[in-house]
Subunit: 301 residues, 2 copies
């Protein structure tokens, strides 16, 4: 079990990102294993990019609950696989039709639509495969709970359901409550699952800490989306002289279109405060979680 507590935050970030990349590279079959083309495309879609926010949350929560880092690696990789699959399917022509992802051609542009469909499907299966390996947890019942948690977070009452609500909301005037409901599902559910899975990698369960992680992760999940909307709006304001960004162009409701940019920024700070409030009693033990919350909510503004 690696102890990162004395490393500075930036070094910790880099260390977790590196080990996440290594774990994913180890867990996704190599390009010389049949079917080679599919495995190459799965690796293309998953490796070599991204901030790995979900893996960072799993590790910060796992360290807080004294889980072994090599177990958190597996849980974090499973969540990153679900996230990667959702990006591949989101980018497809029948969804957002995005040609670029992390500065590279998106999976269906680099390969083709049929391959991208199968890449997403197979990455989802692989997430549940790695999370069900007998080495992951000493307590099989505990591990079943982790599988259940990830499955619910990914499915129709989690991420996939949030996507469906997002599709239905284009061109609709949503209230803040409705927008929140959509994001709690679309991005919030998997972010919450990432933190909880990290915590559940601990051989002993501290119910108080798990509750604190849950409140933390739910607020961070929403804050993450508010910040995304603000950054999107500000990028466009600067470069195009408009007050709202590509989501507004696409006629999609955002926190900025509903609240305005000043109130949206305030909201992200309020959510940050609510996220870290339950961690106060733990003092220095929760330092990584607090730093990570600040990192996520204070990107670029």
């Amino acid at each position: 079990m690696t102890n990162h507590s004395n490393m500075d935050f930036q070094a910790w970030l880099t260390a977790i990102q590196t080990r996440t990349e290594q774990t994913l590279s180890h867990l996704i079959p190599a390009e010389n294993i049949a079917p080679q083309h599919l495995h190459a495309a799965m690796r293309y879609a998953t490796l070599g990019g991204g901030k790995r926010v979900r893996a960072l949350l799993a590790h910060a929560a796992g360290e807080f609950c004294q889980a072994p880092a090599n177990k958190i690696d597996i849980a974090a990789a499973a969540v990153e696989m679900i996230h990667a699959y959702s990006l591949v399917h989101d980018d497809m022509p029948c969804m957002d039709d995005d040609d670029l992802r992390r500065g590279k051609p998106s999976c269906h542009k680099q390969f083709d639509d049929a391959t991208a469909l199968l890449v997403g499907d197979a990455l989802q299966s692989l997430a549940f495969e790695v999370l069900s390996t007998p080495e992951l947890h000493t307590n099989a019942q505990h591990q079943l709970k982790m599988l259940y948690l990830l499955a619910v977070a990914s499915g129709s009452r989690g991420m996939a359901g949030g996507q469906a609500i997002d599709l239905a909301s284009v061109g609709q005037a949503l209230s803040q409550t409705e927008l929140e409901y959509m994001h709690i599902h679309k991005t919030g559910a998997l972010i919450r699952a990432a933190a909880l899975l990290g915590a559940h990698c601990s051989p002993s369960e501290d119910a108080g800490r798990v509750r604190a992680i849950d409140q933390y992760a739910q607020n961070i999940g929403l804050a993450f989306q508010v910040v995304d909307d603000v950054l999107d709006a500000e990028a466009d304001t600067k470069t195009l002289g408009k007050t709202a960004g590509k989501d507004a162009d696409a006629n999609k409701p955002t926190y900025v279109t509903i609240l305005g940019i000043v109130r949206a920024k305030e909201l992200s700070r309020e959510l940050l405060n609510e996220a870290i409030a339950p961690l106060k009693p733990y003092g220095e033990e929760a330092i990584r979680l607090v730093q990570l919350a600040q990192f996520i909510t204070e990107r670029d503004f």
Copy 2:
């Protein structure tokens, strides 16, 4: 635990198909649960049709291993959800582009491509969700093995991998070995998983019976495909006066294009014999498995 041993085979088939439909209807969220549109589409794609071959295999294997029928129901439903998701994605325009499925408009025709994509994604998550519920098995380690088995059978080295090989094989001259390799993955892996999951629902594990089920299911998986190819070719021979069917038109290799129709029929009978050979020592206890094997391999010829 229901005992079907005294019912005639046709009544058994109907009983299992009915309870499978009921279990799926219970496990897939109702159409009035948000997101309603997605849940309606998931139900459309899964309920009200199909021979439920995988559920029948799970029940026949589970009964042979003395597993409780209400546990087999859950495992069978999980496998049927994976199968239904694969049909929804297969039918999409970027894959086989089929407008009809079981005599109804396919999911993407009835709804739209984006919804069909999410239906498949969410059905896969739901399969792992129901298979990880704590009520399923008294032994959590055993249940983890079941989850692992389904995940591997669904993923890049199972069903999704078989699809990828199938895509790559269009217009290629495959050998019988290569064709077999493709089908072992594309349809065989999930058929094998269905039977093994049924067997693993038993609270006690009889290694000899599980090995017999494994050999049975692997042979039935291939036989199922050979019969499909023969039926496809014969339908066309009768109705269109051609010697090969729609797969041949689509320039896809089949057992009939490689072996000819006479040898393909022989092969299906050989596979049937290999499937039931390991069941011989069990006599009457294996009657459902034998009847089901005959039902699958002797459809319509």
